[in-house]
Amino acid sequence: MDQVTPFSRTDTSVVGRWWWTVDRWMLTAVLLLMLLGAALALASSPAAAERIGLDPFHFARQQLLFLPVALVVMIAVSLLSRTGVQRIGTTGTVLGIALLALTLMVGVELNGAQRWLSLGGFHLQPSEFVKPCLAVFLAAVLTRPRDDKLPYGMLLASLPVVVAALLLVLQPDIGMAVTVAAVWFVQMFVVGMPIVLAVLGGVATAGGLVFAYHNLTHVKARIDQFIDPTTGDTYQVDTSLRAFEAGGLFGRGPGEGVVKHVLPDAHTDFIFAVAAEEFGVIACIVIIGLFGFIVVRGFARAMRGRDLFAVVAVSGLLAQFGFQALINMGVAIRLLPAKGMTLPFLSYGGSSAMATAIGLGMVLALTRERWSDEGYEL
């Protein structure tokens, strides 16, 4: 270990201390995920790019540019102190909500939704950045010191969430709004929401779903076609399932996939199907395992810590990360009704990669070991 590690235990530089205190297991898992993302970008890009008349490796080139930048961003964020993370969270929340509002006014419309801000050459999706910041901000408010004089902690904490969720619904980006709400729910639960309320919340969610089913036509259509696949457009999910079948255990081999060519969202929402066809189910299980590992490992490490803020913030950040992974993969294998959601680091998209990097960077920062009276601890 000592021979391979680049830093000495006694190295007290910022980077040296970071190396010894950061969760290196999680760091490794994230790196593996990024490598997989690069490999899948090469696989899915030609299929997606050719269809819209771009250079076959357009998406791959972009993604191979995003991923290293994301890595740097993640490491940079993970160097921050607890206070630094809180500052980014608070600033990001305020700025993010402002950008969300701006998006509604001057945003670019794509596929019937106004989610992007055009920043000379590339599109920025503010909602991606709001999510991690909101989780940190919420944790900070919920666990603020006892002696502060701010009233109505609950309401205050929840206000930005409600505002952000409303702005997201207006875009419309229901998936993102639901994620934000779910993360809020998890954090409230962890911080000590009475069980009665948690159960009531669950009931209310179910009620909300029933309400949406009866009042929002496209929600009804989505759920109907999930229950009975013959009722609507299940083209993407049907095709996705065929990719899994075609791939079998070991896949057709890199670049050998054919189903990806008829899967419109192969490079984003259905990247998991591309992985299945080309690399097989075993690779899929490795991917699921990596996501699961990151979430559970982060939770376990947070549990060992003594910092309530860190526990709540990490629970929110990782819940959000885990939700996205579960929903994206669940849709691709028809475990869940169709819902557009990116797969962190694997789906094409700069905003998504960057926001995930920031979120995981914060998790790494908050789960670093700290020196205390009892030695290194979280």
Binding site: G192, P194, G232, V258, A276, C284, M303
Partner: protein, 579 residues
């Protein structure tokens, strides 16, 4: 304590803002948060576990229903229905893999584009029908059957979601119309609808499943072709409505040919006129006329009522109640038994039948199966029409083939029994294995059968069947000309003419039946349209062609003085017979 702290924290916003227990509350909250986080973590773990299970389920264990594209034809399941071949293995029915094109209107993005693209690929599709199908609220609809591999490829190249190809099999009949009535046909889902295809439907599926090879029929394509051609030529020449014919092995009952004309295209039976689907050979029942007389003679001989040298009074017509029975070519004298057949005397046959009696006549015909459907591996089997009341008049008319309508198959199968030594045959369209044991059911004695062979030879040698004679072969047979009963009346110029020939008559191997439905006279036949002119020559032409094919040796006749076969030394005048 912890609960209290929690509750205090929870209500802090609204109730007490002052918290002096903060120092204790924080660790308590932390403890709770850890517990809650553990719960959340376990839930996540379960979710990821479910994901793994489902992924394995989708890809490896329970693969979803295959919505196939034409791309991987390797998965094609060969033949859910066995081939049908003739007795020598010539293919009569087989399967081709094709695709059916379905549209799922809900998945079509651009309807106009889809209609236009389909119109380019399939000019035979009505664009308006296509458009209305696509605009309909149906989940899916069939656009077209039987796409060629090239068309399937073109559909895939269109890349229009909502157009699906489904693999299917198309039943094909390489011999076209030739075997249409014998083999039959299937519907678009390859279920047998007629002929052997229907009768052996289950067997064909079973064979395909068990990979036990094609179903071999008793038919012989060479014989079938000779028969069909001869029938068609005569039918055309005499402007007949239809024709039918069969060739049977008199020992085994195997049909070597089965033709009913006009025929139809078994690939598209719905596009042929409905009457062409009618099988005259096995489904149509007719009063067949004089071809029935040999049965009357055989019954009388077998029962010992008459001898070959007995004579019957045919000097004048018989009047029974209000009917008059007369001869078409009246000799107006007493006729011997052979003469009754040679001159085809109705009066003589009627008088013989009266001696046999109604009861014994019925019993005899019943033993021949003349009142029941004849067994055969086809769905088209006609039930004979017999009078409910069997009066003396019935006994007389049935003796010469009127008043009882049977299928040509009934006639042929029983001629086989008359000449093969007296053993009933069960007709079959399936090839019998050599040495296959058959039920031996005797209907007449071997001696009677020998006399019948001689009598039938005399008819061809001397009587109405002369036109069936073939140089080099000994042919026996009998003609039958019957007026068709139309609307309860016999019509003089609407006739069913038929002939059953047997060759070689000294040691019978095959029986040939030919039948014409309403033939008209021609100049070549001096205006005659009777069986001797329209049915017997067809049988002769067929025998001439198939006898060498079937390995029946010809008799070399270097010289007219060569001795005739012993049993046939017959002077025709009824004076003597040395058989």
């Amino acid at each position: 304590m912890r609960d209290l702290a929690t509750r205090r924290w929870w209500r802090r916003g609204s109730t007490s803002r002052r918290e002096d227990a903060a120092a204790q509350a924080q660790p308590a909250l932390l403890e709770r948060a850890r517990g809650r986080l553990l719960v959340t973590g376990v839930i996540f773990l379960l979710c990821f576990g479910a994901l793994v299970v489902r992924t394995l389920d989708v890809a490896v264990i329970g693969a979803p229903v295959d919505i196939s594209t034409a791309g991987d034809a390797s998965a094609f399941d060969p033949a859910a229905r066995a081939d049908i071949v003739d007795r020598h293995g010539v293919l009569l029915a087989s399967n081709l893999p094709t695709h059916a094109l379905y549209v799922e209107p809900g998945k079509i993005f651009d309807r106009e584009e889809a209609v236009a693209a389909l119109g380019r690929l399939f000019p035979d599709l009505d664009p308006e029908r296509t458009a209305s199908l696509i605009a309909s609220g149906k989940k899916s609809a069939l656009l077209r059957h039987d796409l060629t591999p090239e068309q399937a490829h073109s559909i895939n190249r269109l890349g229009i979601p909502g157009l699906w190809l489904e693999r299917q099999e198309q039943r094909v009949y390489p011999q076209g119309r030739l075997f249409a009535h014998a083999v039959g046909f299937t519907d678009v889902d390859n279920r047998g609808l007629a002929g052997v295809e229907k009768a052996a439907d289950a067997e064909l599926r079973r064979r395909a499943e068990a990979h036990s090879g094609p179903l071999a029929l008793s038919l012989d394509i060479r014989v079938q072709h000779a028969l069909a051609q001869a029938l068609q030529d005569t039918m055309t020449a005499h402007r007949a409505l239809g024709a039918a014919g069969m060739v049977m092995d008199v020992e085994t009952g195997e049909l070597l040919a089965l033709v009913s004309l006009p025929s139809f295209d078994p690939k598209a039976p719905d596009r042929s006129p409905a009457e062409t689907l009618f099988n005259r050979a096995t489904l149509g029942t007719y009063e067949l006329g004089s071809t029935f007389k040999p049965f009357t003679v055989a019954a009388a001989l077998d029962l010992g009522i008459a001898g070959i040298e007995d004579s019957y009074d045919a000097t004048e017509p018989i009047r029974v109640s209000r009917y008059l029975i007369r001869d078409h070519h009246p000799e107006n004298r007493w006729l011997t038994v052979p003469e009754i057949l040679i001159h085809s005397s109705n009066i003589g046959a009627a008088r013989m039948a009266v001696e046999v009696g109604a009861e014994r006549q019925r019993t005899f015909l019943d033993a021949l199966g003349m009142f029941e459907r004849m067994p055969l591996e086809t769905s088209e089997r006609g039930r004979p029409l017999a009078p409910r009341r069997w009066s003396e008049h019935t006994t007389m008319t049935v003796s010469y083939g009127h008043g009882l309508a049977v299928t040509p198959l009934h006639l042929l199968a029983n001629y086989a029994a008359l000449v093969n030594g007296g053993i009933a045959v069960t007709p079959t369209l399936l090839k019998r294995e050599p040495g296959e044991q058959m039920v031996q059911r005797r209907v007449i004695s071997a001696e009677t059968s020998a006399v019948m062979r001689m009598l039938l030879y005399a008819v061809v040698a001397e009587g109405t069947g002369k036109n069936a004679a073939v140089p080099g072969y000994l042919v026996g047979g009998k003609t039958g000309t019957a007026e068709k009963a139309i609307g309860g009346r016999y019509k003089r110029d609407s006739m069913i003419t038929n002939f059953v020939g047997v060759f070689p008559i000294d040691r019978p191997r095959y029986a040939v039946l030919t039948m014409m439905d309403e033939p008209k006279g021609t100049k070549e036949t001096y205006g005659f349209a009777t069986a001797g002119w329209t049915a017997a020559p067809v049988a002769g032409a067929v025998i001439e062609r198939i006898a060498p094919l079937l390995g029946v040796p010809a008799i070399v006749e270097p010289d007219e003085t060569e001795e005739e076969p012993a049993f046939a030394r017959w002077d025709g005048a009824g004076r003597h017979a040395s058989y």
